[in-house]
Symmetry: D4
Subunit: 248 residues, 8 copies
């Protein structure tokens, strides 16, 4: 940002830019204003990641409008927490869209995605019921250009299942551990690998799981070092952080 600021000041000094225009530039980093949403086309330039639309709580019309604006910018786009209705709404905007039902994700312009990472991200779940959150993480990570290895249903109640997959988990550059109920898998994996572990509590469970609170507290208090935590059911957030860690 400093460079463009310098150019701006030089333009003012040189008279190429009026003071009033300079003021406007200084105050307004470029983004497009749709009224109900402000879209930041510069994020992709800054961090090389695709645009993301969090679809929950938005109308189909709002998502269509945001998508239309982004598509002009010729990037690939990830929509999370997307119902099938949202997907069908996007289909009216562009045919270049794929729906990942288990992940509740849509990807626009999926062919523009490149997977060129040498390292891979392991996505590990404790149970079968954690798979939707895991798929949100996996699809996000793949859309962000990462290789992903899925290792599902290896919870600590039958720990031999975990050990059978240990080499694959240990080989990852970043490990995402997804677990509901008591969430103990994050601590066990954290004690077995020497790479960063991102823990995602899920709302899977009942009674005193309090919709994921139990797993969340477990993971925050992990006795294993190297574990950090994202919000309950936030597969996207874990994958986003993992993608940042997986870049050189």
């Amino acid at each position: 940002m400093s460079n463009s600021l310098k150019q701006l000041l030089e333009q003012i000094k040189n008279g190429e830019l009026s003071i009033e225009s300079g003021l406007d530039h200084l105050k307004t980093l470029p983004f497009e204003d749709l009224g109900y949403a402000k879209i930041d086309h510069h994020r992709k330039l800054r961090n090389g990641f695709p645009e993301v639309i969090y679809c929950e709580g938005k109308t189909i019309e709002q998502v269509q409008g945001i998508a239309r604006s982004m598509i002009d910018a010729e990037c690939n786009i990830l929509g999370t927490r997307a119902s099938r209705e949202i997907y069908e709404g996007i289909l009216q905007v562009t045919p270049h869209v794929t729906y990942y039902e288990a992940a509740r994700c849509i990807v626009i312009n999926p062919e523009k995605r490149m997977t060129c990472q040498e390292h891979y991200i392991a996505v590990v779940t404790a149970g079968t019921s954690d798979i939707p959150v895991a798929e949100e993480a996996a699809v996000t990570a793949e859309t962000f250009g990462n290789r992903v290895e899925r290792i599902y249903d290896v919870g600590v109640a039958g720990i031999h299942r975990l050990f059978a997959k240990l080499d694959l988990i240990r080989g990852a550059w970043v490990v995402i551990v997804i677990a509901g109920m008591e969430g103990a898998l994050a601590s066990v994996v954290g004690g077995l690998v020497d790479r960063p572990v991102l823990a995602v509590p899920t709302s899977v469970g009942y009674g005193a799981s309090f919709n994921g609170l139990a797993a969340l507290l477990t993971m925050l208090n992990s006795c294993a070092s190297g574990v950090s935590v994202v919000n309950i059911d936030n597969g996207f957030g874990a994958a986003y952080s993992a993608s940042l860690m997986n870049r050189e």
Copy 2:
């Protein structure tokens, strides 16, 4: 209890007991009333266990009084949550008393204790800081006549430590798992043994452990079957339940 009721009714029928005395007996199972505490000498008869004094929140005088009443009944007695001051107060009542500092327990008439169980109870802790709760459990179980095996500091952050002790844990008739922080050890042990597991969350930890709440929730939500839970830091309670399970 039915039998003695029957005898009582027979005595009334036979005129050996007046109706008024019968009424008294029916309403009053025998216990001794110290005013501030009602002592139940029959519990030992009923379940073969020693008397227990929960010392916290009682004055030294109260504990002395309760102990005096119990000593007359010639049983061995366990005092939990006992400070050194309580111990010294009991010493004034009887010399036959031992203080277990780590466990904060006193045992009166310790020589009367018999350890004749074939089976043993494993007391397992995740960390070094859980040892005081573990010692409360171990001393309680021993005072109640059980053989105890202590396996300390085998938390899941270094799970090979647990596996090195697995045979000893699997050999137990009942396993008490004691853990603070995230409490994941209970689930892992629960998945590895085929005997009842009593889980004791401890208040060891900080921040979002909320004084043991995190470990408590973890243990209640254990994905491994066969795990039941007692109150935070309640080593005594776990040992009491384990003693009931360890009898034939």
Copy 3:
């Protein structure tokens, strides 16, 4: 497990097994991998219990797939939290299935169950509304080969109802107490019996019961010794623990 390990090493020494195969065996305790679920056929061998499928949060297709894999192994199988739809899905896989509607349980190959225990498990509820959880516990315990006595609607508001059933409760080897609202029944029963009590809080109640939290806290803080607690509404978990205690 040690024995089979020893055999394995002997086979390697004798050249009956290649080192590579040995490595695989060491890392992979045998289980079958369906992708979305890892099935552990050895659990039954290890602890003599039937397989269990927790149906909630799984699709009918997933439950069918798991059941199919298990049926090949010729064991009897318990499905908990099973809707009628799940039951009908299983009927398409095998006719040897029974649905317990109140318990929301299915049992596959129920004829293979043997009830040979001398001891029995008492399942006690405070109210009528606690019966679904109690039935989950009772059906589970029976499927695991235990004799069960049901004692329902004996809450402390009319404590004479409890005393009328006291002999039956006291005769049990393990007592499961199931109560919502304030959950006081666990403490009262705990004070009256000399056997382990497993307390199950239920989400029955309203307002400050907070979906079972009140009963859960009550039971964890029981002033009666010998009470341990499982998760809210977790009839299955209590029965599993009770089954472990009920074996000699």
Copy 4:
């Protein structure tokens, strides 16, 4: 209040009182303003009860000032949550003061108290550690002119102790039940008596008792009818309500 209002309007009509004075009277029910506290001498007139000073959080000087103002009004006075320092401070103001250490209460002009009630209030505790709260209740009720029967240490873990005292409890006009830990005693007593039960949760307990929260929730969810609840450790409040109920 209506009567004095009527008199006031009549005085205005008759010219005995100026409109300005009338305005003042209408807005200002008589109380004395010490700056840091507003003392209401009319409360005693209104409800026949002594004045009460809640001492916690007040300086000795403030309590002395309030007491001095009240003593002039020649009533007997109850001070709750009073440390020994407060007591000694009051002694400097008047010799007519008694300190109840267990109850942490002071009573000024105790000789002015009359106990003329036919009915009595039963104060029942689950354990020995609940006695301080019980004594606050008992001393309050006695200072308010009630006969009190104390029944201590009859918690549900040994329910025969409760039954031995049942006649005394059932004979009361109002029953105050005081219990910490799981607080189950309130439900059991509520189911056995046909009079109003005031339940006082205490902060006695540890771990998941959360300083009385467990007992509070238990009592609010009591399955027995006729139980209402006051704040944790609020022996005074229960006794105040009971005194209102004990009047004819």
Copy 5:
């Protein structure tokens, strides 16, 4: 109970009753066992109140069965938390039933109710939305033979509305205050009357009212003395306690 016990012992002494029958009587206070519910016909004898059925969580068949059993006993009966379906189910059992829709209450044999109390119970609400809980309280109190005065929508946001009704409130023997949101009305009324106040928090509100928790805490911490609290939305419980207080 003592008297009947004495008679029983006398009968045994006189040989009018066998020891075995005596044992049975001693253990079994009379109640009728429907399997899923134990009905206590003696409660009415003991406390003069009608039977009560808590309908929530019971099937229509269960409520019908309970009602049938009670009707034989010729008492009037109150059903709370009763849907219109429950009402229609009861209509198939007896035509002598009235449905109070706002209160969600049914009364069987309503003509058997006598209102002969000199004192009355005031039922006061803060807002219009609290009326369903208030009606549950009012109908309960009336069915239990009390005169009731309803004073609705007098919350503290417009405190003049409360003062306009103050004489009616002050004239009551017991006051039930029902309020959601912040529940401040209980404290204000508690400060204005000299009779017991039963406070009922309601789940009316949103956001940080947390389904009645805010009002519950407000009422438990009331700075006015003489206020005791029942569970959230528990209009029945408040009326039951008030009825006990309203008897001489």
Copy 6:
């Protein structure tokens, strides 16, 4: 109020008003009693604001009745939390009604509203999903006669969007900041403006947002001074306070 009181006393003195009438006036500030609701026509006189009906939890008939009573008083009226059904019910009472769907508000007699304020209120949201709460605030503020500037979707994740609108925000007399999820926008805005900030947490979010609790706590703990908070989703409340601040 003092003035009318004075007149009243003068009338009594002059014999223009009987003492009994005076008593009535003194106790009854004028309001109209619909039975289920007490309507205060004087509020508008007192504070110059329109009447408000909180529609949630009221039947259409109740809202119609309240509206009818208010319309006679010829003021403009705001209905909040109003469904379309409520709107259509009001249409049957008067045609002079507008429905703001996004805000879930109805305004009766909207033409009577005057916007004459020099100052304006800024309504700022973090995201698109916060708009319904923002519209409730904006419509309320406008109905109360304020000029409103809407600045939506300027959350801190892309803080340049906020800075682009900073002049508009800083120019406001009062700023309402509306945010869900972590609610950080309130602190950032609070640090950038020198006018009062009213923060409204919204229930937008998932998992550990706990339906707005996270944003609520964030805002209460704001490190920026000048921020005060209203209930979760309470756009109306923020606008009401802001309107009070926006008057001279």
Copy 7:
């Protein structure tokens, strides 16, 4: 800020400022960096308020250092949550300092404070124990140049005390209501005044007040409009907001 930006750009255009210096200015709004604290001398210029030091959690040396830096800037300074030790530490830096013990505040250069507001702020407390928080609010407001009226101990338990002071409260431009326990005073005052009410919950209380949580929830759910809330015990924050509202 726009103006100085414009000047800066003009200086660059005119060559009065180098581009490098311009860059520095643009990035660095002027503040002084002490290492452990960054001091913003421009805040006073921006909003006309004195500097504030939050002393809790800072060492005496740190507070001295911050004060020294500020004193050079010749403003008056408020220190909150200041112990007597902090005061004595400041005395070593400057003699121009006053300590308000009840408020735990220090004011440096108090003579520089001007009270020139026509309007006043009312600071109202429910009880005597709330006075320390009230004094923090009052001293803050006075140091910020406001006239303050203190109205203490007028809680709703004796509501006539409040009415006696109502004219003084209603005359205020802003009302700060400070209450612990159940915090009902905020709702009552909110219903009686037509000016903004800032509610401060205090940690005064015990048991289910949960250190101010009960009062906090009460105030957030206030049924009276015009009430906004600050953090528990945050007298300073309320006074800061009130000062912003009290300016024209």
Copy 8:
């Protein structure tokens, strides 16, 4: 681990190792057992990090024992949550120890530490009171061989302070953000950088900060992507994770 397993099996095949010894090796990864603690000398080999002793809750003797065992292994060692007493205890074991008082850390053999990383870790705090947690993070990261840049007291209440340091923050490979109170800094930084952000809530604050809970929830709900969270006050944990991310 696979390699050594292979060697082990080869040794068994070759007869170099007996089956019994093989069994032992398979079950026991090498660690040293001090009884109260199990020390894992292989961790350093595995991940290249120094040993860590969490000192809280351990006696000086225990820490000395653990340190002695580790020192023999000739690594550098970090002790966290170390009081000055612990430091002095370690001094008796070795003179090669440094105490970082603000961080409450001890480093044994500090000269063995190498800082050779090209990338650096930024440690950013919102306030001065967050510095102890920040220093724990910084000292940990440095001991683990990272270059660290400290940026303290740049909270969002004065956001220009943050922007002045933005280049330094943006240049980091990993950013640790440490904030108490409302914790908003994590979201703002998360929106400004394109590298992983580790957020550490601190217990700094009062009232509704609930000892760090408010900041924790804020950070978990961050609207900025790329933020993951560790336990309250867990500076060590954040630095450990950051160190894993900072390695190539």
